[in-house]
Amino acid sequence: MPTMPTLVLVGHGMVGQRFLEALAERDLTDTHRVVVLCEEPRPAYDRVQLTSYFSGRTPDELSLTDAGFIARHGIELHLGDPAEHIDRATRTVMARSGLQVTYDTLVLATGSYPFVPPVPGKEATGCFVYRTIEDLLAIEEYAKRRATTGAVVGGGLLGLEAAGALRGLGLDTHVVEFAPRLMPVQVDEGGGAALLRTITGMGLSVHTGVGTQEILTGGADGAVRGMKLSDGSELATDLVVFSAGVRPRDQLARDMGLTVGERGGITVDERCRTSDPAVYAIGECAQAVDGRVYGLVAPGYEMAQTVAASIASQDGQFTGADLSTKLKLLGVDVASFGDAHGAADGCLDVVYSDSRSGTYKKLVVGPEGELLGGILVGDAEAYGTLRALTGSVPPVAPEQLVLPAGAGAPVALGPEALPGDAVICSCHNVTKEAIQAHATLPEVKKCTKAGTGCGSCVKLIGQLLPQSGDKGLCGCFPHTRAELYEIVRVKRIASYAELLDAHGRDGARGGEGCEVCKPAVGSIIASLAPTIGAGGHVLDGEQAALQDTNDHFLANLQKNGSYSVVPRIPGGEVTPEKLIVIGEVARDFGLYTKITGGQRIDLFGARVEELPLIWARLVDAGFESGHAYGKALRTVKSCVGQTWCRYGVQDSVRMAIDLELRYRGLRAPHKLKSAVSGCGRECAEAQSKDFGVIATANGWNLYVGGNGGATPRHADLLAQDLSDAELIRLIDRFLMFYIRTADRLERTAGWLERIEGGLDHVRDVVVHDSLGLCDELEALMADHVAHYRDEWADTINDPERLERFVSFVNAPDAPDPLVRFVPERDQIKPDLPLLSIGSRPLEGSVTS
């Protein structure tokens, strides 16, 4: 076998990994021996999303590759083993471990290093940079152990991101920026002013127009205790993060005699070749042919593609890229794109500025009316669309593009208006056309990689996919859930069949419907039941056929066909007597018991025929259904609050119980969760709930739209210092407005993000009654509260409803023999039949 040419990659960062993928896509990994030297102790990860580590993303989740990819393509990856010396004459790379590899082609992707200004004290304990996972681990450790105040040197994009992270770690955070405004590279003066207001409004202290002169140290270990600023003032701080820009890591290239730019960066041509034709350089370590060193990932990805194409003897070149950025700092919308500062000849600005709301928007327009670039602060909603329109003449006048929705502006410009070649995902350079060749977001991500970089384009992609043309709930209805809600409410339709036959799609009328719309319509009818005159019980009449199996049996189906039982424990408060009853029931029925994440107790392993017997005992002891099975209110968690806790300022337990009892049984587009904390320490985690309440000295703060789960979201503050009555009235309105307008299976978090106008719109509607709806919303909730009945108490007293709680219609006393358990840790667990992956036929089933 002829020996394969060897390709050595130095640096396994974001661009290095993209390069390996580009090789694999072209089957070059089959025709080359590929050796990768990686300085860091772990394979490539998503540096762009680095900060999400502080919101719970693990290093593993940040990883950009997996062992499978590396192995499948026969790549030799050496972790923690940087290249130390390269000899061009013999084409040999020497690594720290002593490994030597002779290359035919060498690719340098060494990235950059954080620049630390040469101030005295910069090496002290407590000084950090912000570049790698290891940096973050060290910052986190130090912040937890010995810091209450932190300062970031540098108020640019990364500096603000780092400051947001420090604040998230609970530090009192300062930002020191030499320039007269924050993010001087991306935003202009007006944008900087709006940004400053927003950032200080978030509780960060900003010092602009001052430099750092010295890091002050003290104590036995000479750790940081403060910094001296150029205006002579001192700032006390326990921790300093330098984020004063990055510099290309070109030392290796200098040592081997390659040409580098005046201000650093390995000089490359349009094919990313260095001054030695056997050596390429890509990513942040390279100075592109336009003389720029790009500090963004998207241009690096393009360079990676260019080199792979070059090695495969295909066309491709990199001549420059655009510098669009959207800040990911929690809670601030800042974006700039294209020629943001209006550097082009003859260009004009269109500016909208509203200092009350901290909004600033500027578009730069060329002499022919073409959009050249812009800056958005405080409201970057239009970023995706505007970025994609850059370079073309927008279909509407530019002033209409910056006016906020509702300020007399005609319909905002939709993604339909974008030309086919508009670049939607700038990280991966994917056009509208390329996205529209696919049907679903997962497919788009898989086939084009669009949306898998910084993620800022995902929303726009969603709007471009075919479903957005047909917003119908499913194959049966052409309407959204919100539209169906209105039809049911206005026409007082209390029957699914009637709704389907009158409003279904042509082919679906008279049919059976489907598993998507049945529960959705069931939920709409249930939440409007008192108002439209439908039967109140979800097991009644035709309603029975609509409910998901969990609602049908008022319990949660488990993997082996058994059920779990969750009695409601309002606010998490429970008497010893009730606890004993739960224990006795669990013992008598042999159930597995576990404390849930929702401050109550789950009993697992009940057979369907046991459910009524279990509930007869629970109801007798004063328990009610906990609706763990329903798209309904789950729990209102509480902290112990003022009654016991030395910090508490209100009775959080009482409020949690009141709220849980008020909203129990309320059917919604998705489940609803809540919590009440007795003070700002927030032990009940109210800010991760659909509606969360935090006590203040003057009353209650109401937060909405929080979410845990797969896509966590911090709740937004809706209103402050409310009295008990004001709080409840506002929650009533908020919930009913959500129920009315949300999509199927859309939590409040996704709904707030999606609806036009977002939080501001919701606040207008529920606080300022801008739609004149509030009376109606309150009346709907009053109806719900007045008509609430415990579903389990109703069920165990009704022989007809009880009939369905059997394993077999023809053998009511026989248990399902397939529901079996085995012991584990002194309790039971399901004994699952072994199913082979593939198509092994089972008894009672055949394979085609």
Binding site: G511, K559, F808
Partner: protein, 120 residues
């Protein structure tokens, strides 16, 4: 002497290998939902009634999980063909052919169903 009035019930029957097997009264079925029946050999069938009054029966065991739960799934129709969606992982099975609509490697058994009047 009193004569009890004669009540006539309609019974649901499944066709097993060589004979009709009586499951229950038709009145036990709710349109749009199913019930499970234990068959003489220990197998289980899921029997459904749709809103037009048609009956279907398929194997009750979900081949994806091994749990006997298909009778508790929601039924629907797509392009005129009736299906049941498993309540566990939501795969759909054609109620007439038993074929899984989401993965052609899987299928469940089907049974012929009829109703018959009986004196009770």
């Amino acid at each position: 002497m009193t004569v009890a009035p004669e009540k006539t019930a309609v019974m649901v029957q499944l066709h097993l290998e060589d004979a009709w097997f009586t499951v229950c009264e038709l009145a036990r079925l709710t349109p749009g939902r199913g019930v499970a029946a234990l068959l003489p050999d220990g197998r289980q069938a899921a029997v459904f009634l749709d809103r037009t009054g048609r009956l279907y029966a398929v194997g009750n065991r979900d081949p994806f999980t091994g749990a006997a739960v298909l009778s508790r799934g929601l039924i629907g129709s797509a392009e005129g063909r009736p299906f049941v969606a498993s309540p566990l992982l939501k795969q759909r099975f054609d109620l007439e052919s038993g074929a899984c609509l989401d993965d052609e490697a899987y299928a469940v058994a089907t049974y012929a169903v009829q109703t018959t009047p009986s004196n009770a």
